[in-house]
């Protein structure tokens, strides 16, 4: 036999989520084969899990998981509307109703399931529908438009999803359930009861223990549902969601072994009774069980692929624990939720006012988690699931795992997990995979995420992933502490919060309440910056002065020889001839080196510390203000000349730049902040390379955020378009204050945003949609900063106490003899070491 002479022919019947996953896995394996997909539906695979989003605006295209082009690119032959009429197992040929014949070496049945419609008289009327396909959704949508009331028959997971769909379609929605409670499979009675209360509070009526006898013509509505207990309910639409049945007709017809109650029997390799035929997903029966969720179906698909390509794999059951949001209500169920295991013990926590219920089921020895039910708060789900799945030994008091505010929760240590423990079930990533990724060079959660895909599905394992990454990095000696320095066990963001909420105004108080030691050159300037962002006191006030870096202390930029440079504010880069003359005049008299900066200002270099006050006295008298070039604060708002002069400008960029600079000047932040405003799309101000970039449009302004130049340039992201002046300012207020509040020390806006979970979209939701409800506070905080602005140099030269700091020596009027200049291109520059020693060669410049 020579198999290599031709490709393996693999035919898949069914292109639902599982069938598609199989194709995807097989293609990714790069196995040499020819793949044919036969789909009974008119469209290729789409996402059935999010079907209800169809009613909140998603289209069939949005739900699609693939398209013909993708399959073509993969070399997969896909045939839609292909109903299989015959499977010739002996000759290994499939025939469709349309007459197509497809030879196979391996056949995959991924035919899925169909909705179970209870045999109730009247169940076949026009507005009695099911909830499974996009066609069903179209029918529901059409019916809903002529209906006011809708009833879902079935109070399980799918039924509640369907109820959500009806509610979103605008119907007065009811759920009718035969069992005494909702989600009877996953929840205990108490959990079911609380879920019912919550769902009813959301406006969906729940009727449990109702056996429908018939559906007949109604009085106030189209239909009347009569129940066995004599009651009735009127409705215009009935939606059946009472469970699924495996689509096993083909298997039955062509002699494969099926279960008593349906389902194609498969072994651990997902093979049917025919060696050449596999069955996967909801049509398959494994160990007498049908799995009605997508995750086990995916696992079967992976198993089948593994066996076909010869890498071996087994399906040995699947954990049906689930965590989801039903109409916004958090619901979680793990393992033996009903405590049916002999000897099982339960702990329960019920907080009626807040609508939270938690049950923890443990074994008789209180050593292992067997199951759990969580309603209203699923924050403990991931931890409990890990305990359950990996048989991790429970701590002394297991109840602590579900109790709130019982002190620190015993956090599940990453080390408690074995290498085989599954961390991300969406992408099947084990702890071993994560450790491997770190071994091969990943050194942050972000790296591990992009390398392993862990936590990129539902994201539920994100906290655990971080825990593992931190722990592994720590083992390798990588410092991952969030503490800002040895004096505070807090991040900058936490310190900000402590200062603001605790109304702390001095470093001494902060240290006393939350820190230790004396502080250092890390935490002191950070705290000084936070005090400025929150309270905006004079930065050289006695209590703040020792906190500042030398640049802030002397309100200038220290240069290599200990002299300072001076940068007065030139808002928007607009300057009068008189002011230019004053700058020139001052520079000349104090013999300062002058240079134009990148931010459209003029920098005066070479001022000795004791000269600063006199220089600034002249500058302030001439109308200049401090430029904060020395501070982690707003620096400049660069602008092009705009519509006032330019032939192409569409808005007055200079006025906008000046207004913005005057609004935000003095705002201290985790790092420097630069703006630019361009008057048209030609972008001469290079606004897209700035923290805040504003570009004029015909209709207003486009706002860009979080760009920067420097060591690692980053293009700013378009944040909002065609804004009017007021909205532009409002958004900038919010972005900047949110940054000041939440960024790490010395973190530019670009890195800050990239580290925000959810990135740009999250920032938009916070700033534009006010998703955190903090915008009013952010604006008020910014208004406070603007209202309390003072020119620090003006305040300083008016304060004899502050001026005492501007002395080189406390006991002498001498100058620092080490500061020496030589001439170069008609200006001064610091003398080199050699020049200082051989003063004869260089031309010393006389000190003023």
């Amino acid at each position: 036999m020579n198999f290599s002479s031709r490709q393996q022919r693999i035919v898949i019947i069914g292109n639902g989520m599982v069938g598609h996953h199989f194709v995807e896995q097989l293609v990714n394996s790069e196995y040499n084969c020819h793949i044919t997909v036969l789909s009974g539906e008119s469209r290729l695979a789409y996402d059935r899990v999010y079907l209800s989003s169809y009613f909140s605006g998603k289209t069939a295209e949005d739900l699609a998981l693939t398209d013909e082009k993708t399959y073509q690119d993969w070399g997969v032959k896909a045939v839609t509307n292909a109903w299989v009429s015959n499977i010739d197992r002996e000759n290994q040929v499939v025939t469709t109703k349309a007459g197509g014949t497809y030879e196979y070496d391996t056949l995959i049945l991924a035919t899925g399931s169909y909705p179970f419609v209870p045999p109730i008289p009247g169940n076949d009327q026009e507005h009695c529908l099911v909830y499974r396909t996009i066609e069903d959704l179209e029918a529901i949508s059409a019916s809903a438009s002529q209906s006011k009331v809708g009833v879902v028959v079935g109070g399980g997971l799918l039924g509640l999803e369907a109820a959500n769909a009806l509610k979103q379609a605008g119907l007065d929605t009811h759920v009718v359930e035969f069992a005494p409670q909702l989600m009877a499979v996953q929840l205990d009675p108490m959990g079911g009861e609380l879920l019912k209360d919550k769902i009813e509070a959301l406006g969906v009526q729940v009727h449990t223990q109702k056996a429908t006898e018939c559906i007949e013509a109604g009085e106030s509505c189209r239909y009347r549902m009569k129940f066995a207990d004599g009651t009735h309910l009127e409705t215009d639409l009935v939606l059946f969601s009472a469970g699924i049945r495996p689509s096993d007709q083909l298997a039955k017809e062509f002699g494969l072994v099926t279960g008593e109650r349906g389902g194609i029997v498969i072994d651990n390799q997902c093979r049917t009774s025919d060696h050449n035929i596999y069955a996967i997903g909801e049509c398959a029966l494994w160990d007498k069980k049908i799995y009605g969720l997508v995750a086990p179906g995916y696992a079967m698909a992976r198993t089948a692929v593994a066996n076909i390509i010869g890498t071996e794999g087994e399906f040995t059951g699947f954990d049906m624990s689930t965590k989801l949001k039903l109409m916004g209500v958090e619901v979680g169920s793990i393992g033996d939720a009903h405590a049916r295991t002999p000897g099982a013990l339960s702990y329960t926590y019920h907080n009626q006012p807040e609508g939270v219920y938690k049950k923890l089921v443990v074994d008789a020895n209180k050593a292992l988690v067997l199951g759990a039910v969580l309603i209203g708060d699923t924050s403990d789900y991931d931890t409990l699931l890990q305990y359950a799945l990996n048989s991790i030994a429970l701590p002394e008091s297991p109840e602590a795992l579900i109790l709130p505010s019982a002190g620190e929760k015993p956090l599940l240590g990453a080390d408690a997990l074995g290498d085989t423990a599954t961390i991300c079930s969406c992408h099947n990533v084990s702890k071993g995979d994560i450790v491997g990724a770190i071994d091969s060079g990943c050194c942050s959660v972000g790296d591990v995420k992009s390398c392993t895909k862990a936590a990129t599905g539902c994201g539920g394992c994100a906290a655990l992933l971080k825990n593992i990454v931190d722990s592994e990095l720590e083992k390798r000696g990588v410092e991952v502490s969030k503490a800002i320095c040895e004096h505070f066990d807090y991040s900058r963001q936490e310190l900000y919060h402590l200062i603001q909420v605790g109304q702390i105004h001095t470093f001494e108080e902060l240290l006393e309440k939350h820190g230790k030691g004396l502080g250092c050159d890390i935490c002191k300037p950070a705290a000084g910056s936070i005090f400025a962002s929150v309270w905006n006191d004079y930065i050289l006030a006695k209590q703040h002065q020792p906190l500042q870096d030398t640049n802030d202390t002397y309100l200038g930029n220290m240069q290599k020889d200990g002299t300072y440079s001076i940068v007065p504010r030139v808002a928007g880069g607009e300057i009068t001839p008189d002011k230019l003359i004053l700058l020139g005049d001052v520079a000349k008299r104090y013999n300062l080196y002058t240079k134009i900066t990148g931010g459209q200002r003029i920098d005066l270099f070479g001022a000795r510390v004791e000269q600063l006050p006199a220089i600034w006295e002249e500058l302030v008298a001439g109308g200049f203000e401090t430029g904060h070039a020395y501070a982690k604060a707003l620096r400049t708002v660069k602008s092009c000349v705009g519509s006032t002069w330019c032939r192409y400008g569409v808005q007055d960029s200079v006025t906008m730049a000046i207004d913005l600079e005057n609004r935000y000047k003095g705002l201290r932040a985790p790092h420097k902040i630069k703006f630019a405003v361009s008057g048209c799309t030609r972008e001469c101000a290079e606004a897209q390379g700035k923290d805040i970039g504003v570009i004029a449009t015909e209709k207003g302004w486009n706002l860009y955020v979080c760009g920067n130049g420097g060591m690692k340039p980053r293009h700013a992201d378009l944040f909002a378009t065609d804004l009017d002046d007021a909205t532009l300012v409002k958004y900038i207020d919010r972005v900047l204050m949110f940054y000041a509040k939440t960024a790490d020390r010395l973190q530019r806006t670009s890195v800050w945003m990239e580290n925000l979970e959810g990135g740009l979209e999250y920032l938009k939701s916070v700033v534009i949609e006010d998703s955190l409800g903090i915008c009013a506070e952010l604006e008020a905080q910014m208004q406070h900063i603007t209202d309390t602005y003072q020119c620090e140099w003006k305040t300083t030269i008016e304060s004899p106490e502050a001026l005492k700091r501007f002395r080189q020596f406390v006991n002498s009027n001498e100058t620092d003899s080490n500061i020496q200049f030589v001439a170069e291109r008609d200006q001064i520059r610091p003398a080199t070491k050699a020049e200082k020693f051989s003063a004869g060669k260089a031309i010393p410049v006389e000190l003023v």
Partner: protein, 117 residues
């Protein structure tokens, strides 16, 4: 630039205690030598330290303008130029073994600050 030329050490009356800045530094010119003087308040106790003002790594007279703090159990000043830390008790640079600065005995008598060099 400095040259230590004095042959015999003596106590110099430098300045008033009011000239010092709590948890920060000032600079004095004593017999041609620039001396950085720090007043450090820790656990309710005030200590005064005197070290050379010359930053041997940045090569400028700037140490008095650094931020004062603690690193583990040491009281230090961070150079404002490149942020190396100098132990105020010993003058040793914590980051570089080959760098250190001179330290000088200092005492406060009534309202005056005296430095010995």
């Amino acid at each position: 630039m400095q040259a230590q030329t004095s042959l015999s050490v003596q106590w110099h009356d430098v300045c008033s205690v009011d000239d010092l800045v709590t948890n920060s530094g000032v600079c004095a010119l004593i017999a041609g030598i620039q001396v950085a003087i720090f007043s450090v308040q820790l656990d309710g106790e005030t200590n005064v330290y005197a070290i050379s003002n010359w930053d041997p790594i940045g090569e400028a007279n700037v140490l008095y303008r650094g931020i004062v703090g603690t690193l583990t159990d040491k009281i230090v000043v961070a150079s404002p130029l490149y942020k190396e830390h100098y132990d105020l008790d010993t003058g040793k640079c914590l980051e570089r073994e080959d760098a250190s600065v001179s330290t000088y005995p200092v005492r406060v008598d009534k309202d005056r600050v005296f430095v010995e060099l």
